[in-house]
Amino acid sequence: MATVTYAGATRHYPGTDRPAVDKLDLEIRDGEFLVLVGPSGCGKSTSLRMLAGLEDVDGGKILINDKDVTNLPPKSRDIAMVFQNYALYPHMTVYENMAFALKLRKTPKSEIDVRVKKAADMLQLGDYLNRKPKALSGGQRQRVAMGRAIVREPQVFLMDEPLSNLDAKLRVQTRSQIATLQSQLGITTVYVTHDQIEAMTMGHRVAVLLDGVLQQCDTPRALYDTPANVFVAGFIGSPAMNIKTVALTDEGGVFGQMILPLTREQVAAARAGGDGKVTVGFRPEDCQLVSATEGGMPVVVDLVEDLGSGANVYGHAAINGGDERFVVSTERRSMPNLGETVFVKPRTDHHHAFHATSGIRLA
């Protein structure tokens, strides 16, 4: 059981002009499942490897349970890690793979046996204990990697995109297994992924990173409902939010003939240094397809994705002289045809406003 604290942790690779991780401040609570998410190259894996002790920390500190571990080697940090490519020991059996860490710690044989068997039962690996990794399927290998971490009973679990080598169906299945397992064991977990759906479904809290800088760290719901800036708004949610920078009036953002209303405070904040523009966004599911007379924005349909449960409609509309692309989620019954013109009307009070130049949310 442990807390993890990043205090201004920085990693600057020699020969690069900007840090891979820039003054990261993050508090992870005891027993929490925290997900680090962001596009590739955002520094999420580096942050995790800094916590693991596999990467140097060039500035700031990292604490586990309020103990400074910044300069400790990995083995003194009492952590366990699951790697993206599993990193199993190929010359050892499944049992030996899981027992390796305990053996190095001189744990008595009888206890190793009990702990390995218990973990194997949890992960349905009981029948494979004498197999070598190469005789296992991808999903089984992934479970062995999990098992190797579980038998350690460490202070913190670190997981570096553990699901990205599984096929789609297995990924969804394993996703819920890992989340369940974590809540059963109650071990603090830091989980890295580039997949925002994984982040939203698994994490108690989600930290979004971009270019080595923490953008926002909050519960999945808060990230979704009140993204702190344009990047988070666009990154979280699938299909992505429709975000456009449009002209600003006293009432709000001008969307063709339609106006997305803003509060007086929002308008004032947007004015400051905003160059007469404001960035507004609405989620695909926060709008309706209406008839021509109800004052929607005319959008020509380019593509319709039938998901079975609903449909995503992709289209373009002429706004402020330019062609802008939009996506709308709709019910299957009202699915339009290709080339058809539909009228899109965002639900009032469900849109987001950001400063046009800084990208910061307007409260």
Partner: protein, 269 residues
């Protein structure tokens, strides 16, 4: 496909025929060897082998060779693996300089080194000793071993080493418990290569191993061929030759089954 088989068959024929012929001749009498070189021996004359083993001391030379080559091989593989691993997986100042110096050793003609080597070994009092030859052999085989294993260790997934570090292994532990077992196919390949090379080594012992009691097989064979002069014992020579060849063949057959590519399969995705 057919062409490939034809070429391979031809190649196999070219390689095996002289071996089989020498082996067959070792059971013939001298006159049979010259009168009917392609015919099978009229009777299996095992006494040729006995003569080579006892009178030509091939037995003793075999023992000498096994000790020297075996010792040199163990030393080369241990040192070579350690050096290659450090150079391949750790960055430190001078890393490349050390690597290139070692690799340059492969390019250096051994003939140029012979005379100074003789004086060095002589002054160390190691001329004609087991340990003297073992050290020289190991130094001789090290450059290629490091070169080969360096590439091999580079290709091993670093995530596995990291996993071992997190599991609590020390640097030595990671090397001996995880990385070395993973490098086994490479180790076996380079060990076979070194074994064959050192077993057939003639020039170095010729200079550094002057005592007839301490001869290795290659020197013994040469002595056997030369000492015959006019009273030739061709069948004995072929028997001695076969004695020298057989261990290499056996070693190769045993080990080649162990060279299995794909030993690392299953480590990472």
């Amino acid at each position: 496909m057919k062409m490939k088989h034809l070429v391979l068959t031809l190649w196999a024929f070219v390689v095996t025929t002289p071996l089989l012929w020498a082996f067959m001749s070792s059971f013939k009498t001298d006159s049979e060897i010259f009168d009917s070189p392609w015919a099978l021996p009229s009777a299996v004359r095992v006494e040729n082998w006995g003569r080579a083993w006892e009178q030509a001391s091939m037995g003793k030379y075999l023992l000498n060779t096994v000790i020297i080559v075996g010792g040199a091989l163990v030393l080369t593989m241990l040192l070579g693996a350690l050096v290659a691993y450090c150079l391949a997986r750790y960055t430190f100042p001078g890393n490349r300089a050390i690597y290139y110096t070692l690799v340059a050793g492969m390019l250096f003609p051994v003939f140029l080194a012979l005379v100074p080597l003789f004086f060095v070994v002589n002054q160390l009092g190691m001329l004609g000793t087991y340990h003297g030859l073992i050290l020289v052999y190991a130094a001789y085989a090290l450059p290629f071993t490091v070169f080969f294993l360096h590439g091999f260790f580079r290709s091993l997934p670093s995530a596995v080493a990291e996993a071992a570090f997190i599991d609590g292994a020390s640097h030595t532990g990671v090397f001996f418990r995880v990385m070395l077992p993973m490098a086994r196919p490479g180790m076996v390949s380079v060990a076979i290569f070194n074994f064959v090379g050192l077993w057939n080594q003639y020039l170095l012992p010729l200079v550094l191993n002057p005592d007839p009691d301490g001869y290795v097989l290659t020197q013994g064979l040469a002595a056997l061929a030369i000492s015959q002069g006019y009273k030739s014992d061709w069948s004995g020579l072929f028997a001695g030759l076969s004695i020298a060849i057989l261990p290499v063949l056996v070693a190769y057959l045993l080990f080649q089954r162990q060279i299995r590519a794909g030993l690392t399969a299953g480590a990472v995705k």
